[in-house]
């Protein structure tokens, strides 16, 4: 057993005793009822379960939760799909997903949203050339699976957010 303390979407949870074999996905969905994070393949291959991890250096990255023990998140700060909108106001990225009809069934959306958010935060710190934008988006979203074939829609939505604020994300 491990005593788990984790910050999720800015709120502290725990300390709470968890079994060492408990996955973070089960902790979020079954213990906390945060079902926005999906369980898909269970093998880190579809990445519908990805959440954002904020590291102390001020950067962020995504992590699958289905193959990773909850205990490994002890002391960490993460963001899930439930943490994007503030006071009911969707983020530009969420609005773009809707405007571009990026998703149909929506099962992969949380993973795509988190990955795209991490990309935006990375580009805000380290902009890329306009000519490299499409390649950068494709590489960032690579690995996330969508069975409704929404790839191009997601891609276009992320591109639209970036192009709407080129001074922030591009050089």
């Amino acid at each position: 057993m491990t005593l788990l303390t984790v910050t999720i979407n800015g709120r502290a949870y725990g300390p709470r005793e968890v079994r060492d074999e408990l996955t973070m996905n089960d902790f979020l969905r079954e213990y906390l009822g945060m079902t926005g994070t999906k369980f898909g393949c269970g093998a880190a291959q579809c990445l519908s379960c990805a959440v954002i991890v904020d590291d102390p250096q001020g950067t962020s990255y995504t992590s699958p939760t289905c193959v990773v023990p909850a205990a490994s998140f002890n002391g960490k700060s993460i963001r899930t799909v439930e943490g994007h909108a503030k006071n009911g106001e969707l983020t530009p990225l969420q609005k773009a997903f809707i405007e571009h009809f990026a998703f149909q069934c929506g099962y992969c959306t949380a993973g795509f949203l988190n990955e795209s958010q991490v990309l935006l935060e990375r580009l805000a710190k380290k902009p890329v050339a306009r000519a490299d934008l499409d390649k950068t988006i494709a590489e960032a979203l690579d690995g996330h699976l969508c069975r409704c074939t929404g790839y191009i829609k997601y891609h276009e939505a992320v591109r639209a957010v970036i192009l709407a604020d080129p001074n922030r994300y591009l050089f």
Binding site: T23, Y61, P69, R122, G143
Partner: protein
């Protein structure tokens, strides 16, 4: 049709005899194990003994537990069938993956058997120049002696690397659902040491 698939008994005996005669040193190796260093002492010729020892060590070097992370390309392989790694990760500049998909994100300090994910504190790919996939044992042998293609290691350092390195040692404790490398890490280290002491000769 059926009779065409049969091997005549006389031919089978000849093949079996030839194999036994060609590899007398490995006779004491248990199934999925490694022959002891002592079992090679019957080979009088030093160079032949050295090459035979490396041949035995080759059971480890060419095992999926080792080859999967010494790939020829930029993607590791996984499982006993050496499938391409899923999700589609790549080595990145330092062997720890691309910025968006670093190895330690999933591969933690130890195996996580509930999800079948192997782990080690420094889980990463061997450098591109240390690729073994698709190579003959002779080529691997020549490569493993070359500091430019073995991580700048001396032959003595190879003994320690294979015999004691913690990440290499994972091959013998790979967790649920994966076949461990043959023998033990200690036995493999002993084979490397014996190979070095006999001149580090390569099999043909």
């Amino acid at each position: 049709m059926r009779s065409n698939l049969r091997v005549p008994l006389s031919v089978a005996i000849v093949i079996l005899s030839a194999n036994v005669l060609a590899a007398p040193a490995a006779l004491d190796a248990p199934p999925d194990g490694l022959a002891s260093v002592e079992s090679f002492s019957s080979i009088g010729d030093r160079a032949a003994r050295s090459a035979a020892i490396f041949n035995e060590l080759g059971k480890v070097l060419t095992h999926p537990r080792c080859l999967n992370c010494h790939p020829a390309g930029d993607r590791p392989r996984q499982g006993d069938m050496a499938r391409l790694h899923q999700p589609p990760v790549e080595r990145g500049v330092d062997g720890f993956g691309l910025p968006a998909m670093r190895c330690p994100i999933c591969h933690l300090k130890a195996n996580f058997d509930p999800a079948g994910v192997p782990g080690n504190p420094i889980w990463h790919l061997a450098p591109r120049e240390m690729a073994w996939e698709g190579k003959t044992l002779h080529d691997i042998c020549v490569q493993i002696k070359d500091p430019a293609r073995n991580g700048n290691r001396s032959l003595d350092a190879l003994i320690e690397h294979i015999g004691e390195d913690h990440l290499v040692g994972w091959a013998w404790a790979p967790g649920y659902g994966r076949q461990p490398a043959p023998g033990t890490q200690k036995q493999a280290g002993a084979l490397v040491e014996a190979w070095v002491k006999t001149g580090a000769e390569c099999p043909n």
